[in-house]
């Protein structure tokens, strides 16, 4: 018996629809402030909302991917409060009749699976964005006002901060897969609040729930949860309780700070938005969306293990993102080397992408190039190390591997006579190594191979060089 941490998450996800939730303005991030605005999203008097069908479709897609029940009838409500980034004095959201009820995400931990259930998914509009200037002014950019959001609310079923990270990663990957959002935390298209409290299993006492806001990365969510977990447990140990409050994560100080206690929380005065009639979701439409859904990560992982004979780990990594999985399959289509392609992708390719924080489609590397490169190595035209250099060159220059190999003269030297001459020269230059070898120090071979490779500027066939050195040492 000990302490049990109870975490629930509220995740806001901006949908990557063409236009905003209730008007025709473009839904685009990073444009000049207040250039994608109209009377509707600016909240000018007389503006009226018209529901974006694509946003409803995306919310349904998310619901299907997250195993939720899609409701036949759903209603938009007004959430009334005053804030500078809220152009109408109310946010159009959903209260009693959200578009999706229930659902779950399955997590795999130490070979065991655990379902984290969802309470609901609802649709709402984003607010504008405040910009604080150095001179102390607050400016407001309404480009974001009216961008469609879904809010995903989990049941309080997460019991460890790390589990929260796993959930968030899986959620992000899934939403990215079905292409309903960019899910970029740094651009704010995915935002997460944590609700956390702790149960003392000995006494049955629970602390009051703390809500944590201002989490700008998954790691922040984990660290904030860990911080709060500790704080709650320490208070429990002292026989005290937490305040029912909202706290803010300070990423620099690595701690949470109180924002407001729930006693001051607003009453949002929810009421149906009469400007929008209730939305009846056609069953056939849902089925059509379901039919057109892409293969989801879990199913794809199974298939990769089956079709390509990959390990569970490799399949998991390669299917975590749709672009990577697609790239893998396309590469294998070119050269049929499921295992080699997996090794190359899991190694140098993904390392490079992570290191430069790049999406694969934003690099020069194509599936055809990678397939050809792997073939060059497999056919021993170049050695493995040269292959890695060629891959780097592809990333830098965008040239195809054959051209790089040709231009740089990287074709592996497998010519017996040419190599013999090289080895002979190396042996002449290193009499000490010959002596070492004769004295039974096998390590000398490795040194001599290295010297020969260096002399060939890496182009020599290493296996052949090795063989020749042993043969020629014996003759000396």
């Amino acid at each position: 018996m000990g302490y049990k941490t109870i975490i629930g998450l509220e995740i806001h996800v901006e949908l990557s629809t063409k236009s905003k939730m209730f008007c025709g303005c473009k839904n685009k991030f990073g444009k000049e402030a207040n250039t994608h605005c109209c009377p509707v999203c600016l909240g000018l008097p007389g503006g009226l909302p018209v529901v974006n069908r694509q946003a409803i479709e995306y919310a349904i897609k998310a619901g299907i991917a997250l195993n939720s029940e899609i409701m036949k009838n759903t209603r938009m409500d007004r959430k009334n409060y005053f804030y500078s980034d809220l152009s109408k004095g109310y946010q159009i959201s959903q209260d009693e009749n959200p578009i999706c009820q229930g659902g779950y995400i399955e997590l795999e931990e130490d070979g065991k699976t655990k379902k984290i259930h969802l309470e609901r998914i609802h649709i709402e509009e984003d607010t504008g964005k405040q910009i604080h200037t150095d001179s102390g002014d607050t400016l407001i950019d309404y480009n974001r006002a009216g961008v469609p959001l879904i809010e995903i609310v989990t049941e309080p079923e997460i019991n460890e901060p790390e589990e929260a990270r796993m959930f968030l990663e899986k959620l992000r990957d899934t939403l990215k897969y079905i292409e309903v959002s960019d899910v970029k935390m740094e651009e704010g298209s995915l935002r997460c609040d944590v609700n956390i409290n702790v149960l003392d299993e000995n006494t049955g006492k629970r602390t009051n729930i703390t809500e944590i806001k201002n989490l700008n990365s998954f790691s922040a969510a984990v660290r904030a949860s860990e911080f709060e977990e500790k704080r709650h447990i320490e208070l429990l140990k002292k026989g005290e309780d937490t305040e029912k409050e909202t706290r803010r994560w300070d990423d620099v100080e690595n701690q949470t700070l109180s924002m407001r206690t729930k006693g001051e929380a607003s009453d949002y005065r929810f009421a149906a938005d009469g400007d929008i009639s209730d939305i009846d979701v056609d069953r056939e439409w849902i089925e059509e969306i379901r039919r057109n859904m892409p293969e989801l990560p879990d199913a794809k992982k199974e298939r990769f293990m089956e079709t390509y004979k990959l390990s569970s780990y490799d399949a998991e990594v390669l299917t975590a993102a749709r672009d990577i999985a697609d790239f893998y399959e396309e590469t294998v289509k070119y050269n049929g080397e499921a295992n080699l392609v997996s090794n190359w992708m899991m190694g140098d390719v993904l390392r490079r992408l992570n290191q430069d924080d790049l999406a694969i489609e934003d690099t020069h590397l194509t599936a055809k190039y990678l397939a050809d490169l792997i073939n060059l190595v497999k056919d021993k035209k170049i050695n493995n190390n040269t292959g890695k250099k060629v891959l780097r060159d592809i990333f830098e220059t965008g040239k195809d591997p054959e051209t790089i190999v040709e231009e740089k003269g990287l074709i592996q030297i497998s010519d017996q006579g040419e190599l013999e001459a090289m080895v002979s020269q190396v042996l002449d230059d290193n009499p000490q190594s010959i002596e070492d070898y004769k004295n039974g120090k096998d390590r000398a071979v490795g040194f001599l191979v290295g010297q020969t490779m260096k002399a060939s500027r890496g182009k020599a066939n290493p296996q052949l060089v090795n063989k020749l050195i042993v043969e020629m040492l014996e003759k000396r």
Partner: protein, 485 residues
């Protein structure tokens, strides 16, 4: 010839026959506005320069024999809660005293497309909250029939301008009777169309599930002409009705009286509306019922029990919606901003405290309370249920009757100050009219004679989207009275 005394149809005819130009017509109306130095105060903002330019364009079209819109060359007034691009739109409030919108309401686009000439923006109760124009930040309008009396409200400026010949036609908005009551008080025709028939895009909402743009004309045909020009589906308004069947009679109403308009029409008079009705008004209604019978209508008393609760229901629902709709006037993006404030909350509260009038604040406070879970939310929720009962009662009545009849108002135009200190009495002034708004029905107020020298209207309520019935009844009664039935 006094051009301002003509009906819109007569103006149209003279324009088409090139007997007059639109410029002459528009200038005559501006002269009427400027000459009436008895201070009708029907307008908040005039649009003279643009109006004359638009008139010249219409004259050019006429000269070239180009196709003309329904409203070509006619002088039109717009209630000042209807958004006009580059033309100040105040809603009768200090909050929007200097607000010049960057866009047009859909109805304004339609008027412009129909070649109508916008003369100016008419006075109104602040944000349409009131029944007399006395809550306008720009001072009240006067009733042209009796300058000591109110023209009604909230669309009082629009009614006064039509009644006084300052415009031929005008638009108002009707949330609980705000077109019909001023029509009744000033002796003209007012129509509140069914909810969804006219686009609300660009019409500053008071209570958005009750609001509907309505029209004023000096006779029924003129009002129908105005209405025909602004109705129709608008994709910018999700509550816009997509396929009105049999809604509008577009044929010309030249003035011939067709007694058949009312033949066989079944008209019910709710007993709930007759309770406590002033004797003189009751007698006036009976006189009009006799005319309707002579024209072939069957008139009988009916009961719609839920109507007893219509005013209370209206007050709860409208206040709740008002509290939310008024939230965007926070002083931040447009409108009045307090000069001194320490922080954001103070900016909001001071701008709203200083920029909004008492009646508006009163309703915001009531509505906020009604939506608060710590307040009286159950009252709001009960009002939503009662609204359903009212809709059902009307629905049952329309299974048997084509129309429902009552006086438009339970009183004639009252004097300034008589009610402005008593908000409850002022609210009660909508008791006969709010039912149509709660149920989304169409209704017309038709001049039905005078009581003690002041005009009073009869109200015909028609089923949703059955505008044809109220128009026929209006034409019938108007014609019947004209020939002295």
């Amino acid at each position: 010839m006094d051009l301002t005394k003509l009906s819109a149809f007569e103006m149209k005819e003279k324009l088409h026959k090139k007997e007059i130009t639109s410029r002459e017509l528009i200038e005559a109306h501006f002269k009427m506005i400027e000459d009436r130095d008895d201070g009708l105060n029907a307008f908040i903002t005039l649009n003279k320069e643009e109006a004359l330019k638009a008139a010249d364009r219409v004259d050019e079209k006429i000269k070239n024999g180009e196709r003309l819109g329904l409203l070509a060359g006619l002088p039109i007034g717009l209630k000042d809660n209807i958004i006009t691009k580059d033309l100040r739109t105040t809603c009768g409030s200090k909050m929007l005293e200097n607000f010049i919108p960057p866009y047009n309401a859909s109805v304004v686009d339609r008027i412009v497309e129909a070649d109508g000439i916008i003369i100016g923006k008419t006075n109104m109760d602040e944000f349409a909250m009131g029944s007399s124009t006395e809550t306008s930040y720009f001072g009240p309008s006067k009733n042209p029939i009796d300058l000591e009396r109110v023209p009604g409200g909230s669309s009082g400026g629009s009614a006064a301008a039509v009644a006084a010949g300052q415009v031929a036609l005008s638009l108002g908005t009707d949330t609980g009777g705000s077109v019909r009551q001023p029509a009744s008080f000033t002796g003209i025709v007012g129509i509140k169309p069914s909810y969804g028939i006219v686009s609300r895009y660009g019409v500053v909402p008071m209570a958005n599930t009750l609001d509907q743009v309505g029209v004023f004309g000096r006779d029924v045909s003129d009002a129908v002409l105005m209405m025909a020009s602004i109705t129709g589906y608008d994709e910018k308004d999700s509550t816009s009705f997509n396929n009105p069947e049999g809604t509008i009679i577009f044929s010309s109403f030249g003035g011939d009286i067709d007694e058949d308009y009312l033949k066989g029409m079944k008209i019910g008079v709710p007993v709930e509306y007759l309770k406590d009705l002033d004797q003189k008004i009751r007698e006036k209604m009976d006189e009009n019922i006799e005319i309707l019978r002579k024209l072939g209508a069957e008139v009988e008393e009916i009961s719609l029990p839920s109507l007893e609760y219509s005013l209370a229901t209206y007050q709860a629902i409208s206040s709740a919606e008002i509290s939310s709709n008024m939230a965007r006037f926070d002083g931040l993006r447009y409108g009045y901003r307090a000069e001194e404030y320490e922080d954001l909350d103070e900016l909001f509260t001071r701008s709203r405290s200083q920029g909004l009038g008492d009646e508006v604040k009163r309703r915001i406070m009531i509505g906020t309370h009604l939506l608060s879970s710590g307040g009286q939310k159950e009252i709001y929720e009960r009002a939503l249920k009662t609204r359903t009962l009212i809709i059902q009662d009307f629905h049952r009545a329309f299974e048997k009757y084509d129309l429902i009849l009552s006086p438009t108002t339970s009183e004639v135009a009252f004097k300034f100050g008589e009610k402005s200190q008593d908000p409850v009495a002022m609210h009660r002034s909508g008791s006969l009219s709010v039912g149509a708004n709660l149920a989304g029905l169409c209704a017309i107020s038709v001049p039905a004679g005078n009581v003690e020298g002041l005009p009073i209207g009869m109200q015909f309520i028609g089923d949703r989207y059955k505008e044809a019935n109220i128009i026929k009844a209006g034409l019938g009664l108007e014609g019947g009275r004209k020939i002295g039935l």
